[in-house]
C-alpha cells in the first residue's frame, strides 16, 4: 500500500523484528469516517488519529460518496454509521461496492440481528456495535490487507 504523504506504509510496520500484530498497527492508513452525529464523529476521529491513521470525517453519506468518487485511490477504508437521514449506511455501502473496491465497516448502536445480517449480506467487511473502543479500531487494517490479498490471488 503506498501512502503518498509518507506517514508510513504497511511494509514498515512488519519489518521490525517479530511480528506482533497487537502492538504494531500501520500508521497512515487512510480512513473516511461517516456519521451524522457529531459527538460520535468527534470520538471516532480522536480514536482513529490516536491509532496514527489519516482521518477524513464526514457527516453525510452523499458528501462521503462524492468525496470518494472525486478522490479515488486516496482512501484505504470507509467506516460508516448505519442510521443516517437521507442516504443511510446500507445505501452508501451498495454504491461503494458497485463503484469501487474499498472495504467498508458499518457501525451502529443497533445490535439487532436482522440489521447486522443486512450489513453482512450487503457486503460490509465488518459490523461494529457502538460504543466502539480504540482496541477494535487498531485492528481495522486487517480488512484492507484481506481485500487486497483476495484481489491478488
Amino acid at each position: 500500500m503506498n501512502s503518498s504523504n509518507g506517514n508510513g506504509s504497511m511494509s514498515t510496520a512488519s519489518s521490525s523484528g517479530a511480528w506482533n500484530g497487537r502492538d504494531q498497527f500501520p500508521a497512515g492508513l487512510r480512513v473516511l469516517v461517516v456519521d451524522d452525529d457529531q459527538t460520535c464523529l468527534m470520538v471516532f476521529e480522536k480514536m482513529l488519529k490516536t491509532c496514527l491513521y489519516q482521518v477524513t470525517k464526514c457527516n453525510k453519506a452523499e458528501i462521503a460518496l462524492s468525496v470518494l468518487r472525486e478522490h479515488k485511490n486516496e482512501f484505504d477504508i470507509v467506516i460508516s454509521d448505519v442510521h443516517m437521514p437521507d442516504m443511510d449506511g446500507f445505501e452508501l455501502l451498495k454504491h461503494i461496492n458497485s463503484e469501487m473496491d474499498l472495504p467498508v465497516i458499518l457501525i451502529s448502536a443497533d445490535a439487532r440481528k436482522q440489521v447486522v445480517m443486512k450489513g453482512v449480506t450487503y457486503g460490509a467487511c465488518d459490523y461494529l456495535i457502538k460504543p466502539v473502543c480504540i482496541e477494535t479500531l487498531k485492528n481495522i487494517w486487517q480488512h484492507v490487507v484481506r481485500k487486497k490479498a483476495r484481489n491478488t490471488f
Binding site: Q38, T39, V43, K46, A109, K130, P131, I134
Partner: protein, 154 residues
Amino acid sequence: MELVQIQRRLVDYTKSLFMEGFLDAQFLQLQQLQDDSNPYFVFEVVSLFFEDSEKLLNELTIALDQPNVDFKKIDSHVHQLKGSSSSIGAQRVKNACIAFRNYCDVQNIEGCLTCLQQVKQECYLVKNKFETLFRLEQQIMASGGSVPTIELGF
C-alpha cells in the same frame, strides 16, 4: 483545600459515578484519549453531547405532542441519542433510551412520554455530575497539579 485533597476528592467522586451507574467503561476510553496536545478533549466531547442532546430532546417533545405521532421519527431520534450517550459513557442515559425504544416499537404513547421524562431527568443528572467533575479538574489544574487517572478494576 490542599491540592492532594482535591485530587483525592476527584478520584472518589469519579469512582462514585461509576458505582452509581452514571458512567461506564467508555468514559475511561475518552479519558485515555486526552493528552497534552488536547487537554480539554473530554470536556469538548461532553459539551458537544449536551448541545446535541438538548436539540434531540426538544425534537422528541414536539414529536410526541403531535396529533399523529410519527414513531419512526421518534425512534430515529432516540436511536441517535442512544448512540451518542453510549459514545461518552453516559450509561444511565443510554439505558433510558433503550427503554424508550421498546415503547416506541409497540407505539405506546404513554410509555414514550414517561420514558422521555426519564431520559430528560438522566441527562440533567449526568450533566450536573460532569459539571462537578470538570470543576474539580479545573481546581486541580489551576493549582498546578495534574488530573489523576482512574484505573479500571478498582
